[in-house]
Symmetry: C5
Subunit: 355 residues, 5 copies
C-alpha cells in the first residue's frame, strides 16, 4: 500500500498536465500488437512505431491495438495527438494508481480498471492497471505487463465464424472487460484456499504466531481487492447509462452479464472479510482455551501435592513431644491418608470435567 | 464455497457464448415432464425428446415443462432454437453459479433462483439452482435434481376447480416461486434448531472445542444463505416493476405475498447472524469464567497450604537452640495455629465469594 | 422464534389460497363485539353470528367490529364474502406470522401489526397480531386474545362529545393504531428496568453466570421487538402516501403523530441494542478484573512464602558440617530474615498497588 | 432514560387530545416575558396573564413571548384558542418527550428541540425541551426552565442598530435556534474533557473499577445526546425545503449556517462514540497487560524457589546411607548450586524480557 | 480536539454577525501577495494595504490575492466591503473551525477546506484552514500560515506558455484545490509508515505499553483526517452541480480529477481505520499469547518440582518405623524415581507442544 501512494505523492508537487509515467515499472520495453478485422478481413502484427496504425484510420474495420509496457511516454502522447484525446486521459493512462472508472467523451470512451493475479503457493495479489480507449473503429488497450491474458480473445477473432467478427468495438470492449473481471474468480479461489487453510489450522486448535500474521495479511489483501474490484460495478453501471453511440444497445445484455460477475465477486469478498474477522475472534477463543488447559494442569498438580507436602512437612518437625512419631502404624497410616486425599481430589476434578 | 467458484474459474478462459454445463453434476440423466392444461383440458406425461412439445406451440393451453438434470446440453440448446432464446440466457441456465435475478426480454422472462434444502440431523444446506423461462403459453423449469418439490402444484393442477386452471403462465410462475421461497422456512427452522442447541450448550456453560467449530460453521452457512436469498427481494421487485405483458397486474398482489415471505426470511437470517456473533462473545466470556473458577481453586489451595508448609518447615530445622522444640505443648499449639490460619483464610475467601 | 416459523413451514406445502389458522391458539372461543356510532347515534353489543352485522351495511354510521380469537375460520370467511375481501388478505388475517404492513385495495384498506405486552417480574415479551380491515363505514379488528386493550377507546366513543364521534372510520383507525403503538412504551419501560438491573449487577462487579444468560436473552428480545416494531414506520408512511379516499387528509397530522411515537420507540430500541452489546464487553472486562484480583492473592501468598519455605528447608538439611546450626543466635536471626523478606515484599506489592 | 419514557407510558391509556403536562416538573411557577419590537419601536415586560398580549395582535411589530415553566396548562390552552393552534401541537408543547421536529401549518410553524446543558465537575447532561411557535408577527417560546439562555438576544434587540430589529419573526427564530444549537458546543467541550480524563487514566495504565463505570456512563450519555441532536439536521433541512411564507428566502443562508453547526456537532459526537468503544478495548488490553505482569512475578518467584526447595528437601531426608551428608564441602557446594540455578534462571527470564 | 471546539464555544454567546478571528493564531503578521495575469500580461508583488488591489478591479486580467495570516480583521472586512461579500461568509473565513464546504452566491463562490500536513518523525497532523473567494476576475485565498504551498502554481503562472495563462479564475481555482487535495497523499504516506511500524512491532510480538498508546493516537488522528477530508467529495460534487457562470463546463473534467483523488484518499483512510481496529485485536491476541507462554513456564516448573518436593518431604519425616530409611539402596533408588518422574512429565509437556 505504501508504494502505490508514495509514488503518487511524489507527483503531487508537479503541475497538472505533465505526462509522466507514475507507478512501478513492470516492463521496460513497450510492445505494440495490432489486430485489424471485419467480418471478412483479418490481419495481425506487432509494430515498431505507433505511426503504423495511421493506415487503419480511415478504414471501416475494427482495429485493436494492445500496448504492453507503459514506460514509453511517446507512444501514449502520439496516440493522444492522432485521435485528439484529452490531456487528463493521457495522464490517467500513464499514472497506474487510478480507481476503476468509466469516462465518456464526445468521440471516445475511457475505461480503466485493475487486473488481479496471484501466485499460487503464497497468497499475494498483484495488480496490473489496464486502460481502454474505445473509439468508433479503434480499441486501444494499455497494459503494464506483457502476458497472454488476451490470447483467448485473439484466438476467437482468428476464427471467421466467431461472434466477435460480426460486432464492432463495443463487443470487443465487452469481451476484454469480461476476461479481466473473470480473472478475479481465480484470485478468489486462491484466497478461498488460503482462508480455508488458516481455518483448518485454527479449528484443529494448533494456531501458531504465524497464523495471526497470516490472518492480518489476508485481511489487508481482502481490503485491497475490495478497493480495486468494487468500483467495477459502478463502472459498468455508468456504461449502461451512457447514451454514447459507441455502445450499442445490443451490447447492454452482455455488459449486464459482466456486472453480474462483478457483483458475485464483490459479495464473495464481503463474506471473506466477515470470515476473517471471525477467525481472529476464534484465535482469541483458542488462546483462551489453551490457557485454561495449562491452568488446569497446574491447578491439579499444585492442589494435590501442596497439601500432601504440608502433611509430610509436619512429620518432619523436630518437636520432642510428637506422639505420632512413635506409633508403629503411623507411617503406613499417613500413606493411606496421602492416597485418600489424592483420590478424593482426583474425583473432584473429574467431576468438574477438568480431567 | 470453494467448489462453487473453482468451477466458474475453470470457465473463465473460455469464449463467452459457449454452451457448457458448469457446476456439480447432481443428476446424470435428464428427465422431462410436461403438463399441459387449460380451464377445461389437462394432460400430463414424461417425454423422451424435447421435440415432442412442438405440438403445444400453437395451442392456447398453458404448457409447463420441467427439465430435471442439466447435463444434457442438447435439450437446452433445442429449446433455445425453438423459442428464440438469447444465447446468454441459455448459458446462464447451464451455469449453476448464478445470482438470483430476473431478466425481461421481448417475448419471454428469465428467472433464476436457488432452492435451499437441509438434512435434519446435521445442519448443512444444499443449494439447487432453478431457472424459469416464462413465455406466453409456456413455462420451462430447469432443475438440477429430480425430486418431488413441485408435487403439491401438480396435484392442484389436476383438480379442475383450482385457481391455477383459471389463470395463465404468470400465476403458475407465482406458484412455483412461492413453493421455492417457502422451502427456506424449513431451512430456517432447521437453522434455528441448530443455533438453539449451540446456545443451550453454551448457557449450560459446557462448551467444548466442537462448539467453537459449530459456531464458525453456522456463521458460514448463514452468510451463504444470505447471499443466495437476499437477491430474491429485488428479483420480485423487478417483476413488479416490469411492464411486460407476460405478468398480468392481477398477479402483483400474489408476487407481493412472495416478497413478504422473502423479507421475513431475510430478516430472520439477519437476526441469526447477530445471534451467532453474540454466541462467540459468550463463548469467550465462558472461557474466561472457567479460567476464574480454575484459578480460584488453585489460589485457595495454594494460599492456605503454602504458609502452613512454611511453618512446618520452620520446626523441621535442625538448629541446636530452638527452645520451642522442647516445649511440651508446642506440637498441639502449632496444630491450633494451623487450624486458625486455615479457618481465617477460608472465611476471607468466603467473604470474597470465591467459595 | 422457533415456534413462529415452524408453524409457517408446516403450511409451506399447502396450496396458496387455503384458509387455515396458522399460529399459537391463544383463544379457543371467538368473541365478536360490535359498536355502531355516528354523531348522534350509539349502540354496543356482543353478537353470536357475524351475520348480525348485515343490518349496518347500508347505514351511514361507523360500525366497529372486534373479533377476538382467530380459530373460527368461518367468521373470517363470511366477512370475506360479505365485503368482497381478497382471498390473500383473509389468509394473512388467519396467519399470525405477518410482518406489519399496509395494503391498499379499491374498497378497503388492510393493516396488520403486532401488539406487544410483557409480564412485569420477568422480562418476556408476548406478541399478539392485530389485523384491521378499514372500509367506508366499517372497521374490522381481528385480535388473537381477549383483553381490555380497546376499553379506553370504547369509553371515549360512549361520550357523545368526543372527537371520535365526529370523524369517520379513518379517525377510528388512527385511534386504534395509536393505542397499539403506545403499548410499546410500556414494554420499553419494562425493558429499561431489566437492562438497568443487569447493568447495576455488572457495575457492582457481582456478575453471576445468570447475568450472561440474561444479557443474551435480552439481546434476543430486543432483536425480536425491533423486527416487529420497525416496519410500523413504513406502514404509516404507506398510509400517508396512499391516495385512497378512505384516509382523509385531515387525519394525516394524527398519523404523523403515531409515526413520531414509532420512531421514538425504534430509536430507543436501537440504543438498547447498543447498550446490551456494551454490557457484554463490560462483563468480559469484569471477568478479567476478577481474574486479576484472584491472581494477585495467589501471587502475594506464593511470592512471600515460597522463598521463606526454601530458607526453612535449608536449615532442615542433615549435613554434618553446617556451622550455622550450632550458632546460638542463628534461630532468632533467621526469624528476623523471615520478617525482613516479608516486609520488603509487602512494600513492593504495595507500591505496585496490588494491596 | 427510564424516567423520560415511563411518564409517556403513563399517558398511553389516555385519549389523544387531552391537554396535560407530561415530563419532570422543572419549574412550578410559569413566567411570561414579552418583547415587542420593530425597527423604531421597543418594549419589554413581564406579564401576569397571557391575555395581555392581545393588544399586539393587530400591530405590525414583532412580538416575542417567552413562557418559562410548563405546568400551567391554561396559558398554552389560551394561546391555542387565541391563534387557532392545532390541538396536537398544544399537546406536543406540553409533553416534554418530543423528538426534535419541524411542522408546517397554514398560519404558523411549530419547531421543537432540546437544549442541552451540563454541570462542569461531573459530566451529566440535562435536557430541556424548547418549543417555538412562529406566526407572522409572533414568536412563542415554551421553555421548561427559567434561565438566562436568551439574554444575549434580548440585549441585541435593545440595541436599535442590530440586524434583529430590521428583520421579522423568521430572523428571530434563526437567532433562537442558533443560540440553542451553539449550547451543544459547550456540552461537547465538557464531554471532551471527561473523555480525555478517562483516556489519560487508561493510558497511564491505572484504570480502576470506576473507570469502567465512567466509560459505560459516558457511552450512554453520548447515545442520548446523539438521539436528541441528530434530528436537528433534518429539522433545519425541513425548514429550508418549506415553502411557507413565514420563512423568507433571505433567511436560508442563516439557517444553513445553523445546519453546518449541527452537522459539526453530530460528527463530533460520532467520533466520540468511536473513541469510547475504543477505550473499552483498551481497558481490556490493559487488564490483560496487568495480568501478565502479575503472572510474571509469580512465575519468577515460583520457578526459582520451587526447584531450590526441592534440593533442600533432598538433603533434609533421613536416609541412613546418604554419602553427601558426610562430605565436608557438601553444604557450601550446595549453596553454590543454589546460586548458580538462580542466576541461570534470572538470565533466562531477562532474555525473555520478563524482568 | 478540545481546542478546536472550546474556542467555538467561547463565541457561542456572541451575536451572530460579529467579525472576530476564532482559532489558534498561527501567524501574527498578515502578508498579502498579489499575482495579476492574462495570456500576455504578468505581474507579481507583495502589497501592504489591501486597497492596492483596487486598480485591478476593472481590468480583465485574473488577479490572485493570497492573504496569509488571519489575525488582521480589517483586511477581510475591507475585501467584504469592496466586493460586497455576505457577512456570514466573512465570519466563516475568520472562524477556522469550518467544515469543508462550497457555497454559491450571485457574484462569487465561497470554498473552504483544510490543508493537512505532518511532521515526519512523529506522526501528528496539523490542519490549516484555507478559504477561497472566487469572483469573475479575482481569486482570494485566505490561509492561516505563511508557507510555500502555492510556489509550484506561481512558478507555472510565470511561464507564458502554461495552460493557467489561457484559462480564467475557475482553472486557477482547480489548480489550487488540486494542490491542497494532493497534500493529503503525503500525509497518508506518513500515516502508512506509522501504521506499518506499529504493525511490525506487533507481529514481531514485542508490543510495549507505548504500542497501545500509539494505536489509540493513530485511531484518533485517522478519525480526525476523515472528518476533514470526507466532505471534500461533496464539496466538489456541489461545484460540478453548480450552474454558476463562474465555473466553465470545460473545467468539469479537471474537477472530476480532483474528486477522484479525494475519493482515493477517503478510501485509503477507511481501510486504515479498519486496519487500526484490527491491530487492537491483534494486540489483545498477543497479550493472550504472552500470558500462555508465562503460564507454561510456571506450570512446567511447578508440575515437575512440587511432586518431587513432596517425595523428598516424605523421607524427611521423623517416624521411628520407616523401613525405607534403613535400606541401603533407598537413596539412589529415590533419585531414579525423581529422574523418571521428571522425564515422564517432560515428555508429556513435549507432546502437548508446551516445550
Amino acid at each position: 500500500m505504501t508504494k502505490s501512494l508514495s509514488t503518487v505523492s511524489e507527483k503531487s508537487g508537479l503541475p497538472p498536465g505533465a505526462l509522466i509515467h507514475v507507478g512501478d515499472v513492470l516492463e521496460t520495453v513497450t510492445r505494440i500488437s495490432v489486430i485489424d478485422y471485419s467480418t471478412e478481413h483479418f490481419e495481425e502484427q506487432t509494430i515498431q512505431s505507433i505511426d503504423e496504425i495511421l493506415k487503419y484510420k480511415d478504414s471501416n474495420t475494427v482495429t485493436w491495438v494492445i500496448i504492453e509496457g507503459l514506460t514509453n511516454v511517446d507512444v501514449v502522447e502520439r496516440i493522444g495527438t492522432m485521435f485528439d484525446i484529452h490531456q487528463l486521459v493521457l495522464e490517467d493512462i500513464m499514472n497506474t494508481h487510478q480507481r476503476p472508472k468509466f469516462e465518456e467523451y464526445d468521440d471516445y470512451l475511457y475505461i480503466v480498471l485493475k487486473c488481479l493475479s496471484t501466485e499460487n503457493d503464497q497468497f499475494a495479489v498483484t495488480y496490473e492497471q489496464i486502460s481502454l480507449l474505445v473509439l468508433k473503429n479503434f480499441v486501444f488497450v494499455f497494459k503494464e505487463k506483457k502476458d497472454d491474458l488476451f490470447h483467448p480473445i485473439q484466438k476467437r477473432i482468428r476464427s471467421k465464424r466467431d461472434r466477435l467478427r460480426k460486432f464492432g468495438t463495443d463487443y470487443l470492449t465487452y469481451t476484454i472487460l469480461d476476461i479481466i473481471v473473470d480473472q478475479n474468480f481465480i484470485v478468489i479461489d486462491s484466497l478461498d484456499d488460503a482462508i480455508n487453510s488458516v481455518e483448518d489450522t485454527l479449528l484443529a486448535s494448533e494456531p501458531t504466531k504465524d497464523t495471526l500474521n497470516t490472518i492480518q495479511r489476508l485481511k489487508r489483501e481482502v481490503a485491497n481487492i475490495r478497493k480495486h474490484v468494487s468500483p467495477v460495478r459502478e463502472l459498468i453501471a455508468g456504461m449502461l447509462c451512457s447514451e454514447s453511440e459507441l455502445i450499442d444497445e445490443k451490447i447492454h445484455i452482455y455488459l449486464k452479464d459482466v456486472s453480474d460477475h462483478a457483483i458475485r465477486i464483490i459479495e464473495s469478498i464481503e463474506s471473506y472479510r466477515d470470515i476473517l474477522i471471525g477467525l481472529l475472534d476464534i484465535y482469541i477463543s483458542i488462546v483462551g482455551n489453551k490457557m485454561n488447559e495449562i491452568m488446569k494442569v497446574l491447578t491439579i498438580f499444585a492442589s494435590i501435592f501442596i497439601p500432601l507436602t504440608f502433611l509430610a512437612g509436619i512429620y518432619g518437625m523436630n518437636f520432642e513431644y510428637m506422639p505420632e512419631l512413635k506409633w508403629k502404624w503411623a507411617y503406613p497410616a499417613l500413606w493411606s491418608v496421602f492416597i485418600t486425599i489424592s483420590v478424593v481430589l482426583l474425583i473432584y476434578f473429574k467431576r468438574k470435567k477438568w480431567l
